[in-house]
């Protein structure tokens, strides 16, 4: 119910002026209109609540509102914990030993799967594109096309997906297990900042290691593109690599690196946040992990779109 509180304000009269009858009447009319509207509003709401509560439309809308509330809540949690993490980083509150462990986990252990996914994506794209381009007389531009595609998009976005599925899910389930087994509570009771201890090394390792992963994955992708073009379209390595550098500028490399830093930090932050706010037992851990993977995937695509609009429009 809304509450319209209203009262007629007696505006100060200019010195010597009489009572403005039209103004008083206007205020009275406004009050009457507000009162009538207030009663009508409440009446409609009562009718809606009484009769429409069982309707499918009401249920769909109420469900959508619950989903929206959950979405905004998660967004708020990510922003709050992200800000806290950034504050700790700027203050230099970084556990270097833990940071090295997390960097190893983020960058080294994820490498095989990231390189495989980016490499195979390049093979798929090159096998589709190279043959057609050679047929149409554009064989000299296959290298350029593949390099632009991999450096600008495929390298970072596919690495983001690979890191999400491997590292993001593991971060979320780790923190969720710590939450449901009261380990996070124990950290708080021992008067240690859980964000400094849990978030800072993980988020920072994401931001530090992701560019290295993306660079390596992109190199592998470009090389496998050349091999595939040679195998499927008979395009020589020389022709491929001669055109590879044609469409690539420093801006592309810079944006690629910046994007990978943002992707790495975002995946780690989102995964840690979802795990940190887990509740319940084993089911809660599963739900938190799923949520972390879904949110990370979506965030990678949304951030990629933002970068495309900002730098390539």
């Amino acid at each position: 119910m809304i509450n319209f509180s209203n009262k007629i304000q007696d505006s100060p009269q200019p010195h010597g002026a009489g009572v403005n009858i039209f103004k008083v009447l206007g205020e009275r009319c406004r009050l009457i209109v507000y009162t009538v509207f207030y009663f009508l509003y409440n009446l409609v709401m009562i009718v809606l609540q009484k009769y429409l509560k069982q309707s499918a439309t009401y249920k769909i809308f109420s469900h959508l509102l619950v989903v929206l509330a959950g979405f905004l809540e998660t967004l708020g949690q990510i922003a709050q914990l992200g800000f806290h993490t950034l504050k700790c980083v700027l203050k230099g509150e970084i556990d270097r030993k833990e940071l090295i462990i997390q960097c190893d986990r983020f960058g080294v252990s994820s490498l095989p799967i990231t390189l495989s996914i980016v490499g195979m994506t390049s093979i798929i794209v090159a096998s589709q594109v190279a043959n057609e381009m050679v047929k149409q007389g554009g064989g000299n531009f296959v290298g350029m096309l593949m390099t632009i595609l991999i450096v600008r998009e495929v390298g970072s976005i596919m690495s983001g997906f690979a890191i999400t599925s491997m590292i993001g899910s593991s971060l979320a389930s780790e923190l969720a297990t710590m939450r449901v087994t009261e380990q996070v509570d124990a950290i708080k009771v021992l008067d240690v900042d859980p964000v400094r201890y849990l978030f800072v090394p993980r988020v920072l390792s994401g931001a530090i290691m992701m560019p290295f992963v993306v660079i390596l994955a992109s190199v592998v992708g470009v090389i496998l593109g050349a091999v595939t073009s040679d195998m499927f379209a008979g395009l020589s390595y020389r022709a491929y690599f001669d055109s590879a550098g044609l469409g690539l500028f420093m801006k592309d490399l810079g944006v690629c690196l910046l994007k990978s830093v943002v992707f790495g930090a975002a995946i780690a932050l989102i995964s840690c946040t979802c795990g940190y706010h887990a509740s319940g037992g084993a089911k809660g851990v599963g739900l938190a992990t799923t949520k972390a993977v879904v949110w990370s995937f979506i965030s990678v695509v949304v951030l990629d779109m933002v970068f495309a609009i900002l730098f390539f429009f």
């Binding site: 556990d95 710590m178 087994t181 009261e182 380990q183 509570d185 124990a186 950290i187 708080k188 009771v189 021992l190 008067d191 240690v192 900042d193 201890y197």
Partner: protein, 239 residues
């Protein structure tokens, strides 16, 4: 006095779990909070140590640390026993650079000896029994010399001998560090062997306050039902 709780109120959604409760615990005193499952005992501990915010009331503690021994130990499973015990010394802002590695090692060894587990520094929590995990959790809790220790069902799920051992540690810690202790439990042996005073919670309110001997006298319907573990009485189990 080490800890005082005044008119504490906590609700979850529409349900009031803690409804205007007040009590005091002095230094060197052990207060047992008893009651059936779901009566809000563990919530009181979480409110006192700040894990969950309360809606209304006051928690007044004298200066110093509050430590908590969790029901399921809550040891960090990725750290070994030594790192678990030394966690606060290594990670807490005000203690981080206070002790050298050698000093930390010595403190850890002392605390482990206090709980009768010398020489298990390099083991991981998963390699320990439930009773041993609980004792490591004790050692971790007292490493910062707290002046208030909260025990959340310290003997739940343990065999009678391990329970006796834990109860003895609670009493010895009381003398050792003169801390105010609150023990949440529903085990009679823990109440009679450790507590100086007992409060009983039901429906978020204190329905009995007295000594363990007074509890055993069963002079009120609440104490009678609790001690005899009867289903008949003023306290109804919640569905």
């Amino acid at each position: 006095m080490s800890i005082e709780v005044k008119n504490l109120v906590k609700s979850f959604d529409d349900k009031t779990v803690i409804n205007d409760i007040s009590f005091k615990v002095d230094d060197g005193e052990v207060l047992a909070i008893v009651g059936f499952s779901g009566s809000g005992k563990s919530t009181v501990l979480k409110l006192i140590c700040g894990l969950i915010p309360f809606d209304n009331g006051e928690v007044i503690t004298s200066e110093g640390d509050i430590a908590m021994v969790f029901q399921y130990s809550a040891l960090f499973d990725s750290l070994d026993v030594a790192d678990n015990i030394a966690f606060a010394l290594k990670e807490r802002k005000d203690l981080r650079n206070k002790y050298s590695e050698n000093e930390i090692r010595k403190i850890v060894s002392e605390k482990l000896e206090l709980v009768g587990l010398k020489g298990i520094e390099s083991k991981f929590p998963s390699e320990l029994s439930g009773g041993m995990q609980k004792r490591v959790s004790f050692a971790r809790a007292i490493v910062t010399k707290p002046n208030t220790i909260l025990y959340d069902e310290p003997t739940a799920g343990l065999d009678p001998m391990s329970s006796t051992l834990i109860e003895d540690y609670i009493v010895s810690l009381k003398h050792e560090i003169n801390a105010a202790s609150i023990v949440v439990t529903h085990q009679m042996s823990t109440i009679t062997r450790t507590a100086d005073r007992v409060i009983m919670l039901y429906d978020g309110k204190i329905v009995f306050e007295g000594t363990p001997a007074e509890l055993l006298k069963q002079e009120t319907p609440y104490t009678k039902q609790f001690v005899t573990a009867s289903l008949e009485g003023p306290m109804q189990m919640q569905a």
